[in-house]
């Protein structure tokens, strides 16, 4: 079985993002970029399925500028077999990403697509579900465990009150939550080996997809700042303040 793993290049999660002074977005020039952490988990899961002999090939896909090839290399360095870069300068929103992935799935015929449950830049959390809908496949969102057996994938999902387990017939789309696994680090020899793995570059037009965004960002601002309050000397003082000043207990 082939697994497709979409990976997104995002501002590294350790970077404190700054809103641009002209309000058009956040500053990304000269900022460290990395693979979206949830996508790292997705890659790791796909590689583990290959190591268990369940998957035969893991294909990493990224979309955006030519620099997204670096993100694909990161996936190749932890065990993905080859990459596909969908190169475009157009800002891609989840609808377009899902359409492009749909076209790649039609071409590649994977039985499973695993991707992160959300990207930490736009925090949209939509691509996996949208891709599943377009393909007419079932979806297992927010996965914390998955088991592939025969033609079925059993997915344990993180839901509001705890966990839920569902069985989905393959092919299916799974979105990875934090506790699915702990991604490995790439070893130096594997990073070197990844350089030799193939990355194919295609354009949205090659896939017959118009990636024009449907949402226009009118402005981006910093959230209102909370003022630091008082440091209190004792628990008794805290309880008194909560009772008489804040009046919340």
């Amino acid at each position: 079985m082939k697994i497709l793993v979409p990976v997104k290049r995002v501002v590294d999660y350790n970077v404190k993002v700054r809103v641009k002074s002209d309000g058009t977005g956040v500053e990304t020039a000269g900022v460290k970029m990395s693979m979206n952490p949830f996508d790292e988990i997705a890659v790791e899961e796909a590689v583990r399925l290959k190591e268990k002999g369940i998957a035969t090939e893991v294909v990493a896909v990224s979309m955006g500028s030519a620099a997204c090839a670096e993100t694909i290399r990161t996936a190749l360095a932890v065990g993905a077999d080859r990459g596909i870069l969908v190169e475009t300068d157009v800002e891609l929103q989840p609808l377009a990403v899902a359409r492009l992935l749909q076209a790649l799935v039609d071409r590649e015929q994977p039985l499973l697509v695993i991707l992160g449950k959300q990207a930490i830049d736009d925090d949209m959390g939509a691509t996996g579900q949208m891709l599943a809908a377009m393909l007419g496949w079932p979806q297992g969102t927010f996965a914390s465990k998955l088991v592939v057996e025969g033609g079925t994938i059993t997915v344990t999902r993180e839901v509001d009150g705890g966990m839920e387990t569902v069985a989905l017939p393959l092919p299916a789309v799974v979105t990875a939550d934090l506790r699915l696994n702990e991604p490995r680090y790439a070893s130096l020899p594997n990073i070197m080996r990844a350089r030799k793995k193939p990355i194919e570059t295609v354009k949205p037009a090659d896939l017959g997809v118009d990636p024009t965004p449907r949402l226009t960002v009118l402005k981006v601002v910093e959230p209102p700042r909370r003022q630091a309050g008082k440091k209190l000397g004792s628990v008794a003082e805290l309880v008194a303040k909560l009772r008489t000043e804040a009046k919340v207990i």
Binding site: P94, L95, I120, D123, A133, P138, V159, E164, V166, V235
Partner: protein
Amino acid sequence: MTSLVLLDHDGSAIKQPARSAVAAARLLGEVHVLVAGHGVQAAAAAAAKLPGVARVLVADAPVFDHLLAEPVAALLVSLAPAYSHLLAAAGADGKSVMPRVAALLDVQPITEVAAVVAPDTFVRPIYAGNALATVKSADARLVLTVRAASFDPVPADGGNAPIEAVPDTDMPSPGRFISAELSKSERPELTAARVVISGGRGMQSAENFKLLDAIADKLGAAVGASRAAVDAGFVPNDFQVGQTGKIVAPELYIAVGISGAIQHLAGMKDSKVIVAINKDEEAPIFQVADYGLVADLFIALPELAAELERS
């Protein structure tokens, strides 16, 4: 313009985040609501009482029993032509279902809506709440999930809407529900609680979370946790407050032994009053706390329990 809101319910009552989604929908025009499930007549009756709801649609069929995304999305798509907006609270069900609906309608969804600017323009947080983006949609029909903490919920009572059954409930469901392991608790749900007390890595063990339980019992609070406490295995993941967990905005949020990573602040900084108890006076949590107590939590928590007992 008429909106349809998919309601979260427990079979009998409408959950508070869903009432916040109704509040958001009221800003857009007439509001209809959808109650899907199996054996949900009591929930439909509760939905009819929500103020501002003009009509309750009920889809009562075994296929909707566990609200699997595939049949529920297909149901919403079948109802969509009558509506300008389709909404749900941004909980696990809404997040799973609504993007699927959007794709089937060829619409770019707008998730985690925190404010309504105009019927096609919304504010939503990005980068873990470190920026707020105002986005305008070019789609003819809009699909939204609503950040419940950003909208005061409509009351549970006061309305009297007619209830009608959805005629066609024959939706495909390729997936199969196997089981659910839900945390059992007498306490209020995290996203609906008036008071939340959360513990972080500083709690040091699962056993020590009992110190928080004692205070939660006195305040009628829900118990939450930082991702660090979840990762350390002190509490299950559904306790997690933060960017990748639950977003809460209670009247009172008490953060105990939590340093205040950006990811955690993203989940609780809209709380009305924030209290931080931490032994490290440099902890970033103090920068957002209204009341800070630099103290060893193992001394402060029993004192707090005793102090609350005293009144």
